[in-house]
Each structure stands twice: as C-alpha cells, then as structure tokens.
C-alpha cells in the first residue's frame, strides 16, 4: 500500500477521531464524513484514499467506540503508524481489520506529505520521499491470525 502521510500529535483521543455528537449512527460511510473532525475539520476533504495517519504516543485514547477505527477505515486510511496506541483502540483496529503499525522511529521521522509505502506482511515501512526504511513491532502470533482472517468475526467463523 502507498499513500501520503498526515501527521497528528500525541494523545489523539477518540472524541477527536469521531466526536460523540455523530454517534447516533453506526453506518461506516456516514461516520467517515466526520473522521478527525475536531482535530482538523477539513481533513476528510484534503486526504485521499490510501493515505496514512502518522501519529505520536497513545493514539486512540479515551472511549471504547469502535466507530473510531471504523470511521478512519471507511474514510480510506490504509494504515495508522504511531509511536504507541491506546489499548482499546489497538484491540478494535485488529478486530475490524484496520492495519496499525507501532513504529516509534518512523512516527517521529516521517513528515507531513511524505510519500509512504507499507508492506504489512513484512512489517516494513518506507518513506519514499526520504528513502528511509523502518520496521514495525511484529504482532504476537495469535493476533496475526486474527489479522490474517480479516478480523475477529471472520476468525471465529473459521474456527467454529
């Protein structure tokens, strides 16, 4: 996957990713319109399908709303690269099949607008603008199985 980087800071909370005032629906397409609304109200119009979010520490802290990763996935974000993720957001992303990569150095060095390429299976991140390559933290085998199945529900179906 290939796209441009959009940089966000530390502690990007789920209220910034999808404000609660839009949570009276769980329709992904509708939620996508409001993704990152309170962090940058024009972001959804500026970004292109396939782009990456590159953020600091504790991305996705706050509420358990799965609407947050759903909104980002539906908006067309191909993966999130961060220094670290909040616990429930991490779980939710794996469960719904939104790729997340914990890669502190990449998150630090990649600049807004850089062209980025990610090889998920290998856990490799390349900044094509600077030519630098990074490696993401590998997932434990069990989580990798959920990811490979395309999320927790598919994984359960397969193993039932």
């Amino acid at each position: 996957m290939r796209g441009h980087a959009w940089k966000f800071g530390n502690n990007i909370d789920t209220d910034l990713i999808i404000p609660a005032r839009y949570l009276n629906t769980s329709d992904p397409a509708e939620l996508a319109q409001y993704a990152m609304m309170d962090a940058d109200s024009e972001w959804v119009d500026k970004m292109s399908k396939g782009d990456f979010i590159v953020a600091g520490d504790n991305f996705g802290c706050g509420s358990s709303r799965e609407h947050a990763p759903i909104a980002l996935k539906a908006a067309g974000v191909s993966a999130i690269i961060a220094k670290s993720f909040a616990r429930i957001f991490y779980r939710n992303s794996i469960n719904i099949g939104l790729p997340i990569l914990e890669a502190p150095q990449a998150a630090e060095e990649i600049k807004e607008g850089d062209e980025v390429e990610v090889d998920l299976a290998a856990g490799e991140i390349k900044d094509l603008t600077t030519g630098k390559a990074y490696r993401a933290q590998p997932f434990p085998a069990f989580m990798q199985k959920i990811i490979d199945a395309g999320g927790l529900i598919n994984y359960l179906k397969r193993n039932n």
Partner: protein
C-alpha cells in the same frame, strides 16, 4: 508464583493456576455489557457469526443510556435495534426508560457485579467495577459480539501498578481528587495496558461509592483495569443488593487479595494529607491543578452527574453546599442523577427541593452532556465545570468550548460563585 488480585481473577477465568504479564490468555466472562452506542454495531457483528443463541441470556446486560430518552430519530433507531435483539434472544437484562440509569452506576447498584467476577463491557468506563473487587475492562463492539456468542474473550495479561495513599483526607477533598491527582502525576498514558491497584489506609476509610469513582477513571490513565481488594464494606454493599449471597462466597472472596510478594512494575506511595481539591483544566484529564491556583476562571455551566459522580452520596454533597443558596445568574447548573433509584432517594431526602430552589435544572438519568450528547451542550467559547471524567476537545459540545473536571463540592460551589472555586470561598 506470587500473584496480584488482578492476576488471580484472570487466572481463575482462564482455568490456569497463575498468569504472567504479557501472556495471552482466553478467559470465560461473567458478564457482558453494551450501551446504545456500542451495542448496535455489536449486534450487527454478532449476527454475522452464525450462531443461533447467545452464550447466556442472563449474563448479557444492555443499557441504553447515552442518548436516552432518545434525543432524535437516529438514536431512537439505535435503541430499537437493542430492544429487538433483546426480545429475539430472550435477554433478560435490558433496561429501558423507567428502570434505566447510567450503566456503570446502575449495574453495581442493582447487584449485578460481584467480587471476583471477570467482566467486559463495550464502554471504556467498564473499569468502574474494580471497586467491588472484580476484574473489569472496556472493549469494543466486535469483542462484545464475540463474547455474546462464545462467553469468552482474549486478554494480554497486564503489568501491575500499585498506588498507596496515606494520611487523612482534608475537608472537601473527595475520592475524585485522589484519582485526578493520580492521573496528574502519571499522565494519560502512565498506565497504558496496565492494571492499577489502589490501596492504603486512606482507601480503607473510603466508601464503596468513592472507590467506584476512582476505579471509573483508571482508563483516563490508559489503564486496562483499576481494582481494590474487597473488604468488609464491599461485602456489606454486596449483601444489601444480592439476594442469597451465601457466607461461603464471602469467606472465599475475602481471601481475594494480592500476595504480599507479588510483583509490580511500579509502586507509588503518597501522603495525601495536604491535598487540595483538584481541577483538570482543558483538554486532558491529566492537566490537574489545585483549586486555589486560579480564581478568575468564569463559568457558563456546571454539570453534576455521570458514572463518575452521579450517585446518591454525590447528590448529598451537592445539596449540603447548595442548601439555601442560589446558582450564579450567569451559570446554568445541571444535575443528573445517575439512576432512577438515586432520583427517588433525592426526592425522599428532600434534595430535589434544595436543588430546584437553588435554581438548578434536574434531569432524568442519562449520560447527556458528559459526552456532548444532549441535555446541556456548550456553545462556542463556553466553559463548564463538570464532575464527569473527560475534558477532551469538543467533549461537551462545540470544539471551541472548555470542560474543567472536579469533585462534586467544587462543581456545586463554583455554580454559586460563578467562577471555579471551593466551598471555602462561599463563606
């Protein structure tokens, strides 16, 4: 291997003797919870799994509370999805208007939670139930769906943090201040993926309600769960709510304590005798300052309620301060009893009259403004003090509004003062 109370509960539900931090385990759950925001997507996912029944009709709790009574057509549709699902699968514990409450206040109050339980809820503040000696944590909708089908959930065993509080709490300093102070010290990711265990002489003296307030905000430090060893107060609390709670349960679970030589990633030990009421400034719960720091923060609103501070004990504190006083003309004071039972007690104890005479608006139980849903949304540039648990950008309304978090006494006193202050400033 010596174990903490959190590890013991996890091990028991995983069918293991002991567990180690970092280990991935599969656990049986005692209760699965969802609300009007998180349950509808969970139901959609559940239907995809292709099972014909839920794992246990009595162990699933569905509580529409965030946008209820339905604030608009879309929210009404969400609750309709829950109601239909509850009927279809014979789910007993579905709480409609008239018997509902904010989920994390309602479940302990009705005796749904026991010491030693393992609980998941599709709501981040599910960590509240650690106050009763349960291992309880928030998950997302897909995890909830999977647990409704299988009765199981996977966990990575968290590392343990221990917090010891010593000394004597000064006047007007509440459990809320202990937890705000704690988050201020360690930061919003200071306990990321970890267990927080609260202990010490100050905690033993704290009411069960106060412990619920503290455990509630474990997630604000990034924690997986917050927990207290169950003591006599907890067993009394449980006995008054759970029919047929037998003495063998009490004996068995009184032994539910952390081993003295259990391992902690870090131990914090604080004397809190000099602690002032704490206020978390925008836009992070960790941005805490003592209440006396700034006396010029003017307010447009004060909100008393939520799963953090909407219980009867909180209402009594608010009434003590508001009795015979008037809310400042520039301030709107909104009081939200967390459950129907709290509201009923408010009427019986005469608190309702005190609030209304003071010029407060009292609502039916709902999350309402706590998450910027309804019932007290802020306009651009407005500022509210609140006894809730989050002050993120846009949390109570306009992205350019501000939320300050405090205990009940400060929120009530500030509503009268018109600026952020303590009950002492009213004299």
């Amino acid at each position: 291997m010596p174990q903490t109370i959190s590890q013991k509960i996890l091990a028991k539900h995983a069918g293991a003797k002991s567990v180690e931090p970092g280990q991935l385990i599969n656990c049986k759950v005692d209760l699965v919870l969802g609300n009007d925001i998180t349950a509808p997507p969970a139901i959609k996912e559940f239907e995809k799994i292709g099972v014909s029944r839920v794992f246990d009709k009595k162990k699933i709790y569905l509580v529409p509370d965030h946008f209820t009574p339905a604030k608009d057509i879309k929210s009404a549709e969400q609750v309709k999805v829950m109601r239909k699902f509850a009927h279809k699968y014979g789910i007993v514990n579905f709480f409609e208007i008239g018997c509902m409450g904010v989920e994390h206040a309602l479940l302990p109050e009705m005796g749904a939670i026991k010491a030693g339980d393992l609980i998941i809820g599709a709501d981040s503040h599910t960590c509240t139930y650690g106050a009763l000696g349960a291992f309880s944590t928030g998950v997302g909708s897909t995890d909830m769906a999977a647990a409704m089908a299988t009765g199981e959930v996977w966990f990575k065993v968290p590392e343990q943090l221990k917090f010891v509080y010593r000394g004597k709490l000064p006047k007007w300093v509440e459990a809320k201040d202990l937890i705000l102070y704690t988050i201020g010290q360690i930061g919003v990711d200071g306990a990321r993926y970890m267990s927080l265990e609260f202990t010490g002489p100050v905690i033993s003296k704290l009411s069960v309600e106060g412990r619920l307030t503290m455990a509630n905000m474990a997630i604000e430090a990034g924690g997986k769960n917050g927990i207290f060893e169950p003591d006599i107060k907890v067993f009394q609390y449980l006995k008054s709510r759970i029919k047929n709670l037998n003495s063998s349960f009490v004996i068995r679970n009184s032994a539910l304590r952390s081993d003295p030589d259990a391992e902690y990633a870090k131990i914090y030990d604080w004397d809190v005798s000099e602690l002032e009421p704490q206020v978390a400034y925008p836009h992070l719960p960790s941005n805490v300052h003592p209440v006396s720091k700034n006396r010029h923060i003017k307010l447009d609103q004060s909100v008393i309620g939520s799963c953090t501070n909407g219980r009867i004990e909180d209402m009594r504190v608010a009434a003590k301060i508001l009795k015979g006083k008037k809310v400042h003309p520039d301030v709107r004071l909104i009081i939200l009893p967390a459950t129907q039972q709290v509201e009923l007690r408010m009427i019986k104890e005469g608190l309702m009259e005190i609030f209304i005479k003071a010029g407060a608006a009292v609502s039916t139980p709902t999350c309402g403004p706590c998450l910027g849903g309804h019932m007290g949304i802020l306009a651009e540039g407005e500022r509210s003090i609140a006894t809730t648990n989050r002050n993120f950008v846009g949390r109570m309304g306009h992205p350019k509004s501000e939320v300050y978090l405090s205990n009940v006494a400060v929120a009530a006193a500030s509503a009268v003062l018109g600026f952020i202050g303590s009950p002492e400033d009213l004299k």
